[in-house]
């Protein structure tokens, strides 16, 4: 599939889960394709990074369910900060670990998972629809009932995949991408490289095959698809690019220039070509 074919499967108002973590292995070529579309009123579910920031800045988001929204080397996502401080999006914030249980409950098709995470904190105060339960075993423990996250479509980015949708991560952490894939009605996977099934074990052990094709509805080959977030071992974060992106939150003109230069492009190939041009001219300047 292409990025645009994936986005054609989405519609306004949907709940979209996005894998990765902060500014790490985000399906950015798919997010950029969403920005090329006319999707709006989205409910985004994410351990958020620039995926959330970009969609907020472009006015595509109605509601965010999140554990945090960060660029890692920039602790708070700057476009998300604006969205929160202007009240332009509805925030449904969970403790990072409680968020994991919301995904897990959806995977296991149970209405909730209980946890202590959130008790006594304002997670409950500001999520008034969140309920607690009391242990049915007579010990009296009160627990937060984290509701299952109902996700229409999840988008994840893997290091490798085969054409059937078996996904492989080769970096230090899968994050929760397998749960995003299993929790959603449908999941589309971009990857750095599509490989033959018989080659899946040539770069990583069997333990890296964490998303079985059972949960994948389409594969997009997107080399550099996580840029500017990190995607080790294929590449690290493009910190210079991320700094430029972060600065656009302080300056509407800079944001307009960023959109024109990096977002208003017809395809991921064009984006890559422009990156390569930039690298070349930077090299020439040296």
């Amino acid at each position: 599939m292409t990025e645009d074919e994936v986005v054609a499967e989405l519609s306004s108002g949907m709940t979209v889960g996005i894998g990765g973590w902060g500014s790490r292995r985000k399906p950015m070529s798919l997010v950029r394709a969403m920005l090329r579309s006319d999707l709006r009123d989205l409910h985004v579910v994410s351990y958020g990074g620039p995926d959330v920031g970009l969609l907020c800045a472009a006015g595509r988001v109605r509601r965010i369910t999140y554990g945090f929204v960060s660029l890692d080397s920039v602790p708070l996502e700057p476009h998300f900060r604006i969205a929160r401080q202007t009240g332009s999006v509805e925030a449904r914030e969970f403790d990072e670990g409680a968020f994991y249980l919301g995904l897990l409950a959806a995977v296991h098709r149970v209405p909730f998972y209980p946890t202590r995470a959130g008790l006594g904190s304002d997670m409950l105060t500001y999520n008034p629809d969140l309920k607690t339960v009391t242990s049915p075993y007579g010990d009296g423990t009160e627990l937060v009932a984290v509701p299952a996250f109902d996700i229409d479509v999840s988008l994840v980015h893997m290091n490798r995949a085969d054409a059937a949708g078996n996904g492989q991560f080769l970096g230090p952490d899968l994050y929760f991408d397998d749960l995003f894939a299993m929790a959603a009605e449908r999941t589309f996977m971009s990857c750095e490289r599509v490989v033959a099934t018989e080659d899946l074990l040539s770069e990583g052990s069997v333990h890296t095959l964490k998303i079985p094709r059972l949960h994948t509805d389409g594969v997009v080959e997107a080399p550099g698809g996580a840029h500017f977030t990190e995607c080790p071992p294929d590449y690290g974060r493009d910190e210079a690019f991320q700094r430029e992106y972060a600065a656009t939150a302080r300056d509407p003109d800079a944001w307009a220039r960023f959109c024109a230069e990096w977002l208003d492009l017809p395809s991921h190939d064009d984006y890559r070509a422009r990156l390569a041009d930039g690298a070349e001219s930077a090299g020439a300047e040296r």
């Binding site: 929204v69 006594g120 904190s121 105060t125 010990d139 230090p172």
Partner: protein
């Protein structure tokens, strides 16, 4: 007379929060707390498990800023003893086998901590980090706080409770809050604990060179002051060597102190 500077004294005071922890995941957030955790293990709490701040538990003392080499592979000389991706970290947290150090933009006398937002949460004047992992950490296992600017952070009340304090937890039905423990609050002036009958903040030690009046002046709320407040201990020669030459030769720890 020791030539230890205030950053080094604070580092030792924060490392002291881990004394007696034995074998658990020492998981400080941010460079200064990470340095304190590494100091504790390298000097008096050898059984602690520490990560490279990414996903690997490592043996030996990494300098600040170094991680197990990415992408791929492990740097020579670094021994990995475990794998702790985020999912495992949550499992560890809920198992209780973990002690975190977090920061706080606001903290009150009960230990309620805020680094989520300033103003009305629904449309904050300033969005901060968010709740992050604080609610789940604090209710499940031992927590300490590192606060490099006491006067700014100590607050009569906090705008948003990320990590609940003792009053909030006491209001929960028994035994929901039984794993809650705020071990220590270390500021640039002093160390505090909650070892009082009503579990409110108590002055535990004052850093050398700081007066009691300084500590009192930097708090809008009252805290317990024992009759004889000890001075925070000075780093040993070995600890100074570890801090200056092994853990933080680049002096990253000093960036949190504005002179």
């Amino acid at each position: 007379m020791s030539d230890a500077t205030i950053d080094e004294i604070c580092l030792v005071a924060l490392a002291e929060a881990f004394r007696g922890d034995g074998e658990l995941l020492c998981h400080p957030m941010g460079p200064f707390p990470v340095a304190a955790g590494r100091l504790a293990r390298a000097s008096f709490e050898p059984d602690l498990m520490l990560t490279d701040t990414i996903a690997y538990a490592v043996v030996g003392t990494l300098p600040l800023g170094a991680t197990v080499n990415r992408p791929g592979g492990v740097d020579e000389g670094i021994v990995v003893e475990g794998y702790l991706p985020f999912r495992t970290v949550f499992d560890q947290a809920w198992s209780g086998c973990r002690h975190v150090v977090m920061g706080a933009s606001q903290i009150d006398r009960h230990g309620n901590q805020n680094f989520a937002a300033i103003g009305d949460y629904r449309k904050p004047k300033a969005q901060l980090l968010g709740l992050r992992g604080a609610p789940g950490n604090v209710i499940n296992h031992t927590t300490s706080y590192w606060i490099p600017n006491q006067a700014r952070a100590f607050s009569e009340s906090v705008d948003v409770v990320s990590g609940p304090g003792y009053d909030r937890v006491a209001a929960l039905p028994e035994p929901s809050g039984r794993f809650h423990e705020i071990r220590r609050v270390v500021t640039e002036l002093a160390a505090f604990d909650f070892e009082t009958p009503d579990r409110t903040m108590r002055l535990r030690s004052i850093h050398p060179g700081v007066s009691l009046d300084d500590v009192l002046a930097a708090s809008p709320f009252e805290f317990s002051v024992p009759e004889d407040v000890p001075a925070s201990r000075l780093p040993t020669a070995e600890e100074l060597h570890l801090i200056r030459n092994v853990i933080d030769p680049g002096g990253i720890r000093k960036t949190e102190f504005r002179s």
